[in-house]
């Protein structure tokens, strides 16, 4: 019962003095009370819990979270690069190339190679 799920507001109306609306959850539409989020606009995403909008989803923040996570492998590679070659790495063959970043690259490349 305690779960809240994000849905898109597709209708806003006044129901005997109470701001109500319809919210679309991937095709399923449900009535919800919008009284607590008066700034909500048609098309906004809100989190619905027991029939009440309890938060408006901030699109910029949503994207930022995903970007931070997606960039994590790159940060790791960058940091590893600053460490120089790992102990298992083959001897450095050239002075001017980027430092070899070790065995760790194998699983990470696989991870970052897929669409993020």
């Amino acid at each position: 019962m305690c779960l809240g799920i994000p849905g898109r507001v597709v209708e806003i109306r006044d129901d005997a003095g109470l701001p109500m609306g319809k919210v679309d959850f991937g095709g399923v539409r449900k009535d919800a009370c919008l009284a607590y989020i008066p700034e909500v606009q048609l098309g906004d995403y809100v989190i619905i819990h027991v029939g009440f909008a309890i938060s408006r989803v901030d699109e910029d923040e949503a994207l930022k979270t995903l970007e931070i996570i997606a960039s994590m492998g790159d940060l790791m590679n960058a940091e590893l690069a600053t460490m120089g070659p790992g102990m298992d790495a083959p001897a450095v063959v050239s002075d001017d190339g980027p430092p070899f970043d070790g065995v760790l690259d194998v699983p990470l490349t696989r991870a970052s190679g897929s669409p993020a």
Partner: protein
């Protein structure tokens, strides 16, 4: 669905798991407060993908589980009356009282109805003016704005055959009670995202400072939980103890002011009993005197009933994280979601039910039966080698 699917991406989850493994140098014990988070963590095997020594204790944040036996027995006493339509969130129907549960009562002819929203209960009251309609108002801060609105609307629209049986609990006092306990092992909390969506996180700042525990407001999807765990471990490793917000897309520091205003219009803070934990001072809401006429306890004069839990049930120790379901002799034998002894086996957010549905410790010895983790841990293991070597 938007804002759900992208937070379940296994490739991104793998990156987070790798980063957690990379930064962790010591064993840490974290607690996720909310039962919805427990459900995801156990179902996805997130706890089993963490570095060795990093332990997730599953917290008391399941409203169904902590509703005290007395309140369930009061609900049963009220629901058994012929003039009453008893309405409740679906999860409460199978919570065992001392002799029966609401579902069994319904099967014996009581008018017990499941509602999704408390406004639906109000609708039933409006449509049945000759019956008494009672709503079982349980929940944490997340649910309080909805339950408060139902009472306020009943008052505004003069729906006098509506009343509520209140059993509202609050997260911060429970966290303090855990931290004050001599048995406490929790070093950092993942705070419940939707509780904080409503209330904001200012209440948590003094707790983090006083007890020197990092608190990370965290969402409910696998990536949210992994990022929350990462942020908590990063604070622990760096010796910081701040309140951070992982769930920024839904939670603002000040919360939702209109919802808080409505809660405090209808409810006031009071002592509450937690099932399996006992009474915690100032840990819940009760109706303000102004709305006392909507209190089902006085309307139906249900006396205080004291009853003992099943002797085999260790729900209290599980709720505080001292034990896991695998320590319970009744788990999977005497007690299952089909025939629960204690509340944590009832709700899908309860720790016992989450363990049971993931098949942990079922049908074999009482060892952690590996649930299918959604991330493959194996490729990460070589990651530790070069990182250590480079140090």
């Amino acid at each position: 669905m938007k804002y759900l699917d992208e937070y379940r991406d296994p490739v991104l989850a793998l990156k987070l798991v790798a980063e957690i493994h990379r930064i962790t140098t010591r064993p840490w014990t974290l607690m996720e407060v909310c039962g919805g988070q427990t459900h995801t963590i156990v179902k996805q095997g997130i706890d089993e993908a963490l570095p060795q020594g990093v332990r997730m204790i599953h917290g008391p944040g399941c409203p169904v589980c902590v509703t005290p036996l007395e309140q369930v027995d009061k609900a049963l006493a009220i629901a058994a009356r012929p003039d009453v339509i008893f309405t409740s969130y679906g999860d409460m129907l199978r919570v065992p009282g001392s002799t029966t549960d609401l579902l069994a009562l319904k099967a014996r002819g009581a008018d017990v109805r499941i509602v999704y929203s408390p406004l639906d209960a109000l609708k039933i009251a409006h449509a049945n003016p000759d019956r008494q309609v009672v709503f079982f108002a349980v929940g944490f801060e997340t649910t309080a704005p909805a339950n408060a609105m139902a009472v306020a609307e009943a008052a505004r629209r003069g729906i006098d055959n509506f009343s509520v049986l209140v059993s509202h609990v609050l997260v911060p006092p429970a966290m303090v009670a855990l931290l004050e306990s001599p048995a406490n092992q929790v070093q950092s909390f993942l705070a419940a995202g939707h509780v904080c969506a409503v209330m904001g996180w200012t209440e948590y700042e003094p707790i983090a400072a006083k007890y020197r525990v990092p608190i990370v407001v965290t969402g409910f999807e696998p990536l949210d939980l992994l990022e929350g765990i990462l942020m908590a471990i990063r604070q622990l490793e760096e010796g910081r103890h701040e309140v951070e917000n992982q769930y920024a897309r839904a939670v603002r520091r000040e919360g939702v002011p209109l919802a808080q205003k409505q809660i405090l219009e209808v409810f006031e803070v009071g002592d509450r009993k937690w099932r399996g934990v006992g009474e915690i001072p100032d840990s819940g809401y009760r109706l303000r005197p102004k709305y006392a006429r909507f209190d089902a306890e006085t309307r139906f004069s249900v006396g205080d009933i004291h009853t003992a839990e099943h002797p085999a049930c260790i729900a209290g120790a599980i709720l505080t994280g001292e034990k896991t379901p695998l320590d319970c002799t009744a788990y999977g034998t005497l007690c299952s979601p089909q025939k629960p002894l204690g509340a944590p086996m009832v709700s899908s957010e309860g720790t016992c039910a989450a363990f049971f549905s993931a098949g942990r410790g079922i049908g074999s010895l009482r060892t952690l039966a590996p649930a299918t983790p959604f991330v493959q841990v194996a490729p990460l293991i070589p990651a530790a080698g070069p990182a250590d070597a480079g140090r």
